[in-house]
């Protein structure tokens, strides 16, 4: 295992833990997007460019955006 893969594995473990421990979904949007990016780099280091591309489009962009819009929906009535 080269040092870069080792580093990415540890960063992904830390990123996942951080995402779970961020209790406020509003802040979680950013952490989740960052976690998606870390996963994507790890997949690239594991010689899986197809999967990295998939994770980059979905995990780092689409999923956090959906979470963001879902939060906006859930907050709506509290403002009235």
């Amino acid at each position: 295992m080269i040092w870069f893969q080792l580093l990415m594995f540890l960063l992904v473990a830390a990123g996942g833990t951080g995402t779970v421990l961020t209790r406020d979904p509003k802040k979680q949007v950013i952490v989740l997007s960052f976690y998606g990016m870390l996963l994507s780099i790890l997949f690239l280091a594991l010689q899986a460019p197809d999967v990295a591309l998939s994770e980059l489009a979905v995990g780092a962009v689409a999923l956090p955006l959906m979470l963001l819009v879902a939060i906006a929906n859930v907050r709506k009535k509290l403002h009235k």
């Binding site: 996942g16 979904p25 689409a62 979470l67 859930v74």
Partner: protein, 114 residues
């Protein structure tokens, strides 16, 4: 060292479950579930990895060059995209719960009595 990737996958699974069990917000539960899901990606790709091998794309390398396993890549890449749509369905359910009950804390949601 040879077990580290698998331990990272197990760690992600258990941390995600911990988040789900202790969560006070349905949206947070769904995100934790996606962390649990990502543990399977890490596990599958680690199982299919071979030290020093190339990606299973032979545009620049002749066929026969040692490459990593393409089957797990195919499994994971479809699951990432399909899983995102299912997560979106879960978000829609959470939004629906909020609209009906005005609440996203699972501990304060009681069974429907209508």
């Amino acid at each position: 060292m040879r077990l580290l990737p698998y331990i990272v996958a197990a760690w992600l699974l258990l941390t995600g479950l911990y988040g789900i069990v202790t969560s006070r917000n349905l949206l947070h539960v769904i995100v934790c579930l996606s962390i649990v899901q990502s543990s399977t990606y890490v596990l599958l790709l680690s199982v299919g990895y071979r030290t020093g091998a190339i990606a299973p794309i032979f545009a620049e390398h002749p066929p026969g060059t040692p490459a990593v396993d393409p089957v797990v890549h195919a499994l994971v890449l479809t699951d990432i995209v399909v899983g995102a749509t299912v997560t979106a369905l879960l978000f829609a359910l959470a939004v629906q719960v909020f609209k009906r009950r005005g609440e996203v804390d699972p501990a304060r949601l009681r069974p429907l009595r209508e």
